[in-house]
Symmetry: D3
Subunit: 135 residues, 6 copies
């Protein structure tokens, strides 16, 4: 259950409905996911987040699938059940193969392990890493 | 400062030194990073982590740069200062451009934002996401 | 399901029951929430946490609703499903309006986003912030 | 040190400089904080984040100080050193008293404690919390 | 629901089945837990994780129960529902008493509280702690 | 630097000084750590936290060293630099050997890895784990 009512299309306020219309049209779907129905209680945030999703997740210097893989990784690290599910589905829709998924999981697992070790050991940052920002 | 002594090469125990030798040779460097010097206090974990790094981070179904981008994302989400630095440097060494870095940051920021919203709203997972695992 | 038995009132040990009695009386309710039933397995912690809740959450230099909003924010950041639910309900009981909830969500989302960016960029703290503690 | 160069005003690209100009003018300051100098490497995100800060943090259904308190709480939970510093300074600039700061810390501490307990106990959400979303 | 299919024994690929066989034999059980069925989609990671579990969790300088208590603590801090459940069950199987569980919870709660306070206050590390690594 | 002034003994308010006196006497030291000097700005929380430390960390069903190991693990998972340092020092003072520290790190690393995998895979909790709470 959500902490707010899931707002259906015909219950949405005009500003929320305008965003929902854009999601439906952009994605060519007949209904939006629960995330957007929950966010429809906060139309300004709904508008803001959807606008970012449209801009940020489109292919650019990084392709669309790579962006979804990064999204899954962040969501897993933050323990967001909904986001892990929705972006794993999105990655598959954008062509993620089982082999790619398996390698993604291996990197997430390795990074989480070394993050915990570096935090436990409080390893000081090597001076050599600093030079990378000087160019 | 670290919570352990940073073990220099000539101070390392034989099992730790064997791993350090492999790092030096594999990476063709004259010294290892602080992370490995700290881990040298725990030779079994040093061996285990290095073995995983060699296997997991090599190109496969995902290329090496994509893996570094995922690594940065997980490290940022986990708040690991050392890992963010070392893997940002590694990504640059593998060709990450400023434009790719900027887009990576945008995805990390967006994912963190929607993770927080989904957790605040406790959005129920859409049944449609479930079908993705049935194939 | 919980990792422990939910202790009902008539099953509680005397020290746990004394705390449950105080919760029932203070809140003027006929039953306690699941959190307290789970904690009743650890009477010393039950006593300690309830004592803090009574003291910390009462109005002081901050009003009771502001405290609940902060509680929701921490709980969302920590990914605690139970706490997000219970303190969203508590905030509503203390008068949180839908407009306030929507603005709370926007701040949580923005903070999570800039937290991730600052962690990804490892931005050094400005010296100017230090002066604030000197007075 | 940062993972990117801190971009000074006269080094900024035109789109980044336009945002920096708006920050300088809106805040009536002679220089921007390091966070914005780091973000200036990613002009689209700089524009996006600053736009959100201007909109989200202004007084509305919640006053400006309450929003800063929530921001501190999220930043502490996410372990963001920079953000804890910058928003503690911002809260003081908006009138946070030492007594309010002390109470904020107490709520953050209590919430973190019960978050950990609820996660350790995996307490099931009470059905009663659900009714709150039906109105 | 999982983001992948739970692979049953007779559906597993040969390399995954070899690991499942080792789990079944080592633990003397007739079926493996869901975690391993999910990981069977990624045989290399399945092999890697199981190998670590067998090595790391066996008694050594720390006894097996202490290791499970640490495992529960990390899992609670990371908000991993599955891991909290599976390792609480494992700790009980290795003799954890209700009194030990209650004290474990108290330490987890206290640590989470002081972690949040130290992060909120950004307390500088005492120089005295450094001497500990010099021996 | 801290977000608050570190309160020295002779600057402390009477209620804070009473707690500092108890710390000095209980630990038989000539000065308190920075954590307590920072908390002295919030005397009620100082009193509350110190009271819990004295009660929770004393030997009981779990010995004092085991409690410190759990404390380190939680602090590493939460990314608390100060707490990792102070409790690693405390564990050494209570007899933690380098071998025990190395095994602790290995468990923290393994748990962090499987936490990330279980969160990425959203593995459903096995029904068998539920029976553990029925006794």
């Amino acid at each position: 259950m959500a902490t707010v009512k899931l707002v259906q299309y015909n219950e949405a306020s005009p500003p929320a409905r305008a965003v929902l219309d854009d999601i439906l049209q952009t994605r060519q779907v007949s209904d939006v996911n629960n995330f957007w129905k929950a966010l429809a209680n906060a139309p300004a945030t709904l508008q803001n987040v959807w606008s970012q999703v449209k801009t940020v997740m489109q292919p650019g210097a990084l392709d669309a699938l790579t962006k979804e893989l990064v999204y899954i990784a962040v969501s897993a690290a933050n323990g967001c059940e909904y986001c892990v599910h929705s972006h794993t589905a999105a990655a598959r829709a954008k062509g993620m193969t089982p082999e790619q998924h398996a390698e993604l999981l291996a990197v997430i697992a390795l990074a989480s392990q070394t993050n915990a070790l570096a935090n436990s050991l409080q390893v000081p940052v090597d001076p050599a890493f600093q030079a990378d920002t000087s160019a």
